[in-house]
């Protein structure tokens, strides 16, 4: 039974489940698979790599399913021409995160695309609504990759109250199963956006090693900080930090960030080499607090199906421990 919300109505999709625009690992294969399964897939335009964007938007457009394209707003501001490439592919939506969306909103809306804005505070939500956001994505600190400090259970109802029914609010951060979808609907969200859960899917372009590390990670295996951004010589504006699996490199530098800044050139070289070699004791796997709920690498369609049927069970009022669900 489909779960219909204001989000599914606005997007014209079957299920209120969005896949996150994970920088270059959420390619057309993943976005198309999520959309074909009734959710809504978003390409990870990230910092903005022209060749990647041209290739993946062409593939996504050829798949004949609705899709979105996500960008890191402050990075897109350095290469605004990439937005034209994105809009030429006729996406249903452009998702902007981390920065003021005002600069790009008119261009996006005049091209007929919906504007999704991911926000971490009420002030950001107000700016997004002023810019004409069609959907707000309220992201809690549990999320993998970049984000801020407030938790999902705190920020989601706050943004729902602020939106006051004007636009649908989508919840992000720490969600990996149907219980999470149902819980977010209870908090007033109209849908969910999942990153880490779709990272561990067959269609995600992340490495097999990283996917396996996500499956093996247990509770408390992730942390948020600036070590990996500094190690990539990639300084982000405040208040954004990045959540990743805890590895040897993070343990080495957490609490020693000033020292890291001082030896950044050497560390950045070592880090780049480790990334190339897929040495994930140094290179980061960006992942959220939901890792401990993720134990396998199924096709994306199966993930969508599981979440919908589990949420359906919870909303039916069945007892919702996983033991009961397995029974």
């Amino acid at each position: 039974m489909p779960i219909e919300t204001s989000l599914t109505a606005l997007l014209g999709v079957k299920h209120p489940i969005l896949s996150a625009p994970m920088d270059t690992i959420a390619g057309a294969r993943l976005a198309a698979a999520v959309s074909a399964a009734g959710g809504f897939g978003i390409l990870g335009g990230g910092y903005g790599d022209k060749a990647w964007l041209e290739r993946e938007t062409a593939k996504a457009a050829a798949a004949s399913v609705p899709f979105g394209i996500g960008f890191i707003t402050w990075s897109l501001a350095k290469k605004p021409e990439l937005l034209d490439i994105a809009l030429d592919a006729k996406p249903r939506a452009i998702m902007l995160s981390f920065g003021d969306p005002k600069l790009f909103a008119p261009r996006i809306k005049s091209a007929g695309a919906l504007l999704f804005c991911q926000v971490q505070t009420e002030d950001m939500a107000r700016a997004a609504l002023d810019a004409g956001a069609d959907i707000l994505i309220a992201q809690g600190t549990e999320a993998g990759g970049h984000g801020a400090s407030r938790t999902t259970i705190d920020i989601v109802p706050a943004i729902v109250d602020l939106a006051a029914g004007r636009v649908p609010v989508v919840a992000a951060g720490g969600i990996a199963d149907g219980r999470g979808l149902a819980a977010m609907m209870m908090l007033g969200a109209s849908g969910v956006l999942l990153g880490t859960r779709f990272y561990a899917s067959q269609e995600c372009d992340g490495t097999e090693e990283a996917k396996k590390l996500i499956c093996d990670a247990s509770s408390g295996a992730t942390a948020r900080g600036v070590v990996f951004d500094l190690s990539r010589n990639n300084v982000w504006p405040a208040p954004f930090t990045v959540r990743s699996l805890i590895n040897g490199h993070l343990r080495r530098w957490t609490g020693h960030e000033v020292e890291l800044l001082q030896s950044m050139t050497a560390v950045a070289a070592e880090y780049a080499a480790a990334r190339e070699a897929r040495n994930f004791d140094i290179a980061a796997v960006f992942a959220g607090d939901a890792v401990s709920l993720i134990h396998d690498i199924p096709p994306a369609a199966e993930i969508v199906e599981r979440i919908v049927s589990e949420a359906d069970q919870v909303l039916l009022g069945r007892r919702n421990s996983s033991a009961a669900l397995r029974a």
């Binding site: 809690g140 705190d154 720490g174 819980a183 908090l187 948020r224 709920l293 007892r319 421990s321 033991a323």
Partner: protein, 358 residues
Amino acid sequence: MWPDRRIIELFKTEFPIVLAPMAGVMDAELVIAAAQGGALGSLPCAMITAEKAREQINIVRQRVTAPINLNFFCHTPVAADPAREAGWKKHLEGYHAELGLDPGAPVSAANRAPFDAAMCAAVEELKPEVVSFHFGLPDQALLKRVKAAGCLVMGSATIVREAVWLEESGADIIIAQGAEAGGHRGMFLTENIAEQPGTFALVPQVVDAVKVPVIAAGGIADGRGIAAAFALGAAGVQIGTAYLRCPESKVIAPARVALAQAGDDSTVITNVMTGRPARGVANRVMREVGPISAHAPAFPHAATALGPLKVAAEKLGKVDFTNLWAGQAVRMGREMPAAELTRALAAAALARMSALGR
């Protein structure tokens, strides 16, 4: 209709809502009011004597027939380290001068004692329906006596590993305390705050890891939050911060103002007030000395030197040194009688679940 009735059946309360024990800011009055509204009232016993606990329970028993929860700390006591305490006092001496206090004056030691044989005897005599513990569980001999007295035992977990330990050690119910929660972090197998997830991530992980019912705590202060906790697999919720501004609490007037004015980013986790990490609205000493200070003596000895400062500042209507323990949902606290608040919370949660149910 509650989707999970295990907690209601175990406690025999009307609602699967636990009024959190909040040591220092409440007594029997709030327990009675919450119980009259249909919640399980918790009496914090960590800062009172066995004699005082007896008196308080008798007051509750005379006024309501509802079940009651007695809450205790079970930290391993650390003897006060005179050198460290002297250093801490020195660290705070500017405040003494400002308030005209003699930093050399004798102070009474902070009074947070772990659960012991005397308290256990009181429990055996008073037979509360539920006993909850913070910072782990007491030793097995004491725990056996508590269970033999017919009490249900609850323990708090901040990480999955603690929840598994609590279940294996005999807890009947696990409170999953997310990072949003106010007051002391219940942690006992980890000292790493960064390792402790928020309520939303913690609850389903704990539900998957244990067989006993799980109560969600932290950041829950309205019907939506309660409904969300149940969707995540919780069988109940523990709520504290939402009750702080009820007329039946013992929160002093200037602290009520500070709570009412708190914003979404007003709370921090600090070790300044007691030596153990706890979440509260940031006051002056937390901001200026902490929120985390390497100088703070071990729990509860950091509170000793702050005692006279707290008393003197409160006389001036200031909460510069007062523990303003509160969770991240502090803005959702309401000035409403506790019984009415309890019924409103339950009604809102049930309405939410039935509106979205199918």
